[in-house]
Amino acid sequence: MTDGMIERLRYDVVILGAGGAGLRAAIEAARPGVKVAVLSKSLLGKAHTVMAEGGMAVSFGNLDPQDCWQTHFYDTMRGGKFLNHYRMAEIFAKEAPDRVVELEQWGAVFDRTPEGRISQRAFGAHSFRRLAHVGDRTGLELIRTLQYKGIHSGMDIYQEVTATHLFQDGAGRPTGVFAYHRQSGTFCVFEAKAVVIATGGWGRMYKVTSNSWESTGEGAALAMRAGAEMKDMEMVQFHPTGMVWPPGARGLLVTEGVRGEGGILLNSEGERFMLRYDPEKKDLSSRDVVARSIYKEVQAGRGSPHGGAFLDITHRGADFIKRKLPNMYDQYLSLADIDITKQPFEVAPTIHYTMGGISVDPETGATSLEGLFAAGESACGLHGANRLGGNSLTDLLVFGRRVGIGACDYAASRQEWTAPSASQVAEAEAAALAPLDRAEGENPYQLHKDLQELMGEHAAIARNRELAEAGLAKLEALKLRSKRLASPGSRMYNPGWHAVFEVEAMVLLAEAILQGALWREESRGAHWRLDFPDADDQGFGQANSICRLDGDEVKLSTRPVPQMPAELAALFSSGQLPVRQGTDQGGHS
């Protein structure tokens, strides 16, 4: 097939990803006269976001009127161990209430308080009850609302279309993407003035993960290959409570909502061990702390039969549990034959979220490459070294909107179109077809499995120098194998072929994670170094890691963490939690 036969479409803004971030961006960008395309490798409404359970964090103060944006900001920075970009956290905490109300305006139906306002639940390391939620299916509510808003907002949505390459002009600016229709296997070039990456995280790089099939990081890899800067890649979140048994369900999330609604963690001796590790926040301590505590209990021989801890919520009663946590009830009953209203159940840490990602400008979501933007889990800056539960869904709304505006404005400022050249397209096509033509080659499923094993051993919850170095050495062999991936069969809906693009992306991102894990000689948030068990606030704690691709090599450099202006810094120096004064004004929704 020659370029002459490849379809070319032209859009002002092309958005990769139809999760919460991509859809919110598209709704904002699709102004009259602006042509917007959204590409999604799955069907509409199925994105990873649909899995989110517990809720979205927003300081309405509907139940706790002292809550305000300052408290939310404070919790977010503290949770992120001050590696966050303060300006992102500030924008986020300030704009969250408007974004969530807007969702209600578009049809979302949140659980209510007795006064008829949006109800809010407690979650780890949030000082107040803060998570707007719908039972334990908040992600579904978010995506369905944006999906049905989106289809009436004048954007073109391309379902089951996967982007495999980003085209650039001589100055490195994106000129479009190369993509293929999974159903037919045919190619398509989307010419664009601005490209937004909203393709989510890469938790699938690990075996034990709560993440959906989609989280394989292709968008982040596209950005990295194009030369964009990646930040804090070593920061990968372990959620303390994933399912442990049966084997097929291992890693599946047990929402923090279980602990938010009163569940407690016990070791094999029946001890509520979180009282020892964090007497103040107990079972609702931040995720990094709870995950490490479970890990330590297991190491000390006090783990559950399958190597985890017990979670017990039976004291809340069957009615309450079924109403507040219906999916959890169903999940354990149907998959593990366990009735969580009657007995404690086993949980263990699972890979959950990637805090690191494409470095972005807080105001517009612009990356280090002019014309390329990013938002959502693929971007980096808001969460620092540890994301608080519920902060991601709100992140998607706040920065999805901002990146939509940023990309739209940028596209408007670009007068001329630069179309990808015929030779660029031919090259992208050849690269995409290569795995189908290779008679002998590596099985992408096997390489994926080997990568998962490597990451599980060398970049997991407990790290040290030897592990990271050995991991990088082992990765060299995988990198070579990833250049010889083969996928027999036709082009029509061929999952093996699709897996090739995913595995190539993950191998690239894995190197950045391992390099970051080796470089950061301290323990901070999700990054726990056994050989450097303490935080180094004056040294490593002042720096973000930056990874860039230089030719074929991943190069790590560092950059100082942006310093807060005095009025924000003051929130942390008083030694007191900043709260809303005059509590009668609380609760504006």
Partner: protein, 242 residues
């Protein structure tokens, strides 16, 4: 040695196809989707299947297991006696293997008038008033109800009936306390609620246990009947919530 089981999986496309038998080693608690992944990883890398969450949340992995519309990620092997046959949903054209063309659903979705708030949010709404809407909003769009509904499945009456999934979509909007639009004539005419003859098959297969027929379709039929028999009264009021 692990216990082995045989899965007979449909392989083919629009031009035809047949079931192919694959032997799979069984782990405890394994679901059909695990077995399909096993086959993909070791025997047939190009076996086409949709899935995203493997947690019964996204509604991607719909198929027919021994003739029953099911989510593959929620169907345990140890719950199936004897042979295991996995085929694509019958009500939609097959693309390849277990993947079907469900685009018709997305076209119907677009034709329904979206949420039309009567006033700007934030709303004051009570839990008891939003419960109906919330029940329908649990829908994961797996389209298993569409697959099982005989109107679409046997009679291919896709021009006349939107199917149960979109009846609850309409009901969800109509029963939203703050919605100001009127979709009753649409429900009767374009969406064709009259085509449903209340067999309740849809609510039996729904993995989200939504009471499609009892809580949505029957009330919608009542609203339509109410309106069409009593046009004068209908002029003066929009059907009340619930």
């Amino acid at each position: 040695m692990a216990e082995m089981r045989t899965l007979h999986v449909f392989r083919g496309d629009q031009s035809g196809g047949e079931e192919v038998a694959y032997e799979v080693p069984v782990e405890s608690g394994m679901v059909v989707l695990d077995a399909v992944h096993q086959i993909q990883a070791t025997q047939a890398p190009d076996l086409a299947v949709r899935w995203n969450c493997k947690a019964a949340r996204c509604g991607s992995c719909s198929a027919e297991v021994n003739g029953h519309p099911r989510l593959m990620c929620k169907t345990r092997l140890d719950a199936i006696e004897g042979e295991i046959h996995v085929r694509p949903m019958k009500a939609f054209p097959v693309i390849r293997d277990l993947v079907t063309d469900v685009s018709w659903n997305y076209e119907k979705a677009k034709q329904i008038e979206p949420f039309a708030p009567k006033e700007p949010a934030p709303f004051t709404m009570y839990q008891r008033d939003v419960e109906r809407s919330q029940q329908f909003r649990k829908c994961i769009e797996c389209f298993l109800c569409q697959d099982v509904c005989h109107v679409l499945r046997e009679h291919s009456a896709k021009e006349q009936y939107f199917g149960p999934r979109f009846m609850i979509k309409i009901a969800e909007l109509e029963m939203h306390p703050m919605d100001g639009a009127d979709r009753v004539p649409f429900t009767s005419h374009q969406a064709g609620v009259g085509m449903c003859n209340i067999t309740k098959c849809c609510q039996e297969v729904c993995p989200e246990h939504i009471h499609l027929t009892d809580d949505a379709i029957i009330p919608l039929k009542e609203r339509v009947a109410d309106r069409e028999w009593d046009p004068i009264r209908a002029l003066f009021r929009k059907p009340a919530v619930r």
